[in-house]
């Protein structure tokens, strides 16, 4: 036969691939497309630069003699080097665009491409924050329209648009509460803020930042606030409470109206952490629950991106009582002409003289406003309601399917996230962290671990409405199989996980105790030894 005269084998070399997979060490350290990427400092050269800048002409500058004399030590990468470096790193990264991201309380839902398309329209994308108001009427109208819908969905009379993250929104709300107490002349007396044991860590941190003293409200054993215990803690020195609803156990606080009434009767304010608004948007209006202030994470509920740390956006809705203290700047509209109220002087003229002042340099996260409004308008009132319902349905599906092998911490049904603890791992030697690391080998980003703190070895799963039944089934099957393997005594394989990740188990303890935060050039490092 002379059919294959190039010498190319027509049958794969049998079995070799499997056996050699773990044995071959490549010269480069790369594993095909999995590139062993060096630090940018090691790729580039400190002495070089990727750009050619012309020599400065003339002697004049306005730096007043504080010009830098030394080099700043940036790696000198060329454009292709810099681009490849970051693309290679990004390929090692897990992202919502790659697969389910079940981090509880983080709401990693799909970020629709339509949002991106709209945000890139030149009229929004290229607008400078210092552009004159006459040239920014469309952008101001967009902020105002988004503000209208946020107020509509929450049933609240006012909203501060400028906070740039959930915790920043908390700060805004708590500063408004402080300002209101000062206006009442009670700021010196009302120094205590109550927060449940299951609260997000940012709640007590925010209260302390505002000068309050935080006290924990005990749980009632079903994962909710103990109303009677709360009432006992109330008094004329309480500034307010901070409660998340639905809470971090994935449960709706059934007594929320009674909680709000009790706090109001005691003269305090009710801050609601709106991180989990995505479970109730279109279903429940926080204004009807007696809330005085609540931040809304646009990067959660309204699908703007937040992988990799942001940018977040945390507009904060305020009740009638707190509205006068809203921060600057805010958008005002008269005869169809929009303007930004940016100064105290202007605010006084607009009857807003009680404002707590300016919270941010500019007007908020404009790019996120565009995306959030795009999400709202493309979903519509009924679509937003359905998104909330589907998020809750998906979480309950996961809860129901995993019940057979894993241990839910509280009786269902849950809201948008399902909370499990480590009782099902008892006596297996496998801990929550080992279970999470094994999920990495299965191709999943782990769920939230060890939070909330009110259950032991917590695993908090939030599937969001983005996942199909097929995707949820695959995810649940993978977790059930892991749970069975743990119970069958495969402890060692869990302790060794992750096996297939670019880096195996990291030594978090050493990293925390001896952090290396600064890169030093090899010759300096050698000289120091």
């Amino acid at each position: 036969m002379s059919m294959n005269n190039q010498g190319r084998p027509t049958t794969p070399t049998s079995g070799a691939g499997e056996a050699m997979e773990t044995n071959v060490k490549t010269f480069t350290g790369n594993k095909a497309l999995m590139i062993e990427e060096a630090l940018s400092f090691e790729v580039g050269d400190l002495s070089g630069s990727g750009v050619d800048l012309p020599e400065l002409s003339g002697q004049y500058d306005r730096l007043g003699g504080v010009n830098r004399n030394e080099t700043i030590g940036l790696p000198g990468l060329s454009e292709p080097e810099a681009m490849r470096h970051f693309v290679r790193l990004s390929q090692k990264n897990y992202a919502i665009d790659m697969g389910p991201f079940p981090l509880g309380s983080c709401t990693m839902k799909h970020n629709p491409r339509l949002n991106e398309k709209v945000a890139r329209l030149p009229g929004f994308a290229d607008l400078h924050p210092l552009a004159p108001e006459s040239a920014a009427q469309g952008a101001l109208e967009l902020i105002d329209t988004l503000a209208f819908w946020l107020k509509e969905l929450t049933g609240m009379p006012a909203v501060a648009m400028s906070p740039k993250a959930g915790a920043h929104g908390e700060l805004c709300g708590m500063m408004a509460i402080k300002a209101a107490l000062e206006a009442r002349g009670e700021a010196d007396r009302r120094v205590r803020v109550l927060a449940p044991e299951s609260a997000h860590g940012t709640n007590p941190a925010t209260a302390v930042q505002c000068g309050f003293k935080v006290e924990a409200i005990p749980g009632d054993g079903t994962g909710r606030v103990d109303l009677e215990a709360l009432k006992e803690k109330l008094g004329d020195d309480v500034a307010g409470i901070m409660v998340t609803n639905p809470n971090t156990c994935g449960l709706f606080e059934r007594d929320i109206r009674a909680i709000a009434d009790a706090v109001h009767d005691a003269g305090g304010y009710f801050y609601c952490d709106g991180a989990n608004f995505n479970a109730i948007a279109g279903k429940v209006k926080p204004g009807d629950l007696g809330v005085d202030a609540m931040h809304i994470n646009l990067h959660k509920t309204f699908s703007t991106p937040h992988g990799g740390g942001g940018p977040g956006a945390g507009p904060t809705v305020l009740s009638e009582a707190l509205a006068p203290f809203a921060p600057l700047p805010y958008v005002s509209c008269e005869d169809g002409k929009y303007s930004l109220v940016e100064t105290l002087h202007h605010a006084e003229a607009e009857d807003g003289g009680d404002t707590l002042g300016r919270l941010t340099a500019f007007h908020g996260q404009m790019g996120m406003f565009v995306r959030a409004l795009s999400y709202m308008m493309s979903h519509g009132r009924d679509g937003l309601k359905q998104a909330s319902e589907d998020a809750v349905l998906n979480a309950n599906y996961v809860l129901a399917r995993l019940k057979s092998e894993m241990t839910p911490s509280f009786e269902g049904p849950c809201m948008h996230e399902a909370l499990f603890d480590d009782r099902f791992l008892k006596d297996t030697g496998v801990e929550t962290i080992d279970f999470a690391k094994a999920m990495i080998d299965e191709g999943y980003h782990p769920m939230t671990m060890y939070f909330p703190l009110v259950v032991h070895g917590a695993m908090l799963i939030e599937p969001t409405e983005s996942e199909s039944k097929r995707e949820l089934d695959l995810f649940c099957d993978a977790l059930l199989s892991l749970a069975k393997r743990a119970k069958a005594g495969e402890t060692e394989s869990f302790k060794a996980a992750p096996v297939y990740a670019p880096r195996r188990r990291l030594d978090e303890t050493a990293a925390a105790r001896h952090p290396v935060l600064r890169w030093t050039p090899p010759q300096t490092a050698q000289a120091a030894e």
Partner: protein, 123 residues
């Protein structure tokens, strides 16, 4: 005098009116590898239940509460420099602070070894 324990997992050992205070072996084990400790300044006074120190592990950051009221007379800065000691010897060399008690009767409300063992077993 024997060691007594609070419900927040601090241990107290009184010697005259000065008490040595630390976190229990059970607490240290639950925290996991301790990576950071923050202690109060000497001379500071605390009421029972005030947060007095911070201990942070790879799993969680926790407040350490004053199990009794009084004034800080000495702190163990060795555990600030080397937080790992808290895991190695939580009820010995890795004590946190010494407090001069202002109300010795507060000791009566604390648990003895056996009662704490029962308590920690449940929690």
């Amino acid at each position: 005098m024997s060691v007594k324990y609070s419900q927040d997992h601090e241990w107290v050992k009184a010697d005259g009116d000065v008490c040595t205070i630390g976190i229990s072996a059970h607490a240290a084990e639950q925290l996991g590898d301790v990576v950071f400790v923050e202690l109060p300044d000497t001379g500071k006074t605390f009421a029972k239940g005030d947060d007095m120190a911070v201990v942070e592990s790879v799993k969680a950051a926790s407040d350490v509460y004053a199990p009794i009221s009084g004034e800080i007379v000495e702190v163990n800065s060795a555990i600030v420099d080397e937080p790992a000691k808290v895991n190695e010897d939580p009820q010995g060399a890795a004590w946190f602070v010494k407090i001069k008690m202002s109300n010795a009767s507060e000791l009566d409300a604390l648990m003895d070894e056996a009662a704490y063992k029962d308590f920690a077993g449940q929690s």
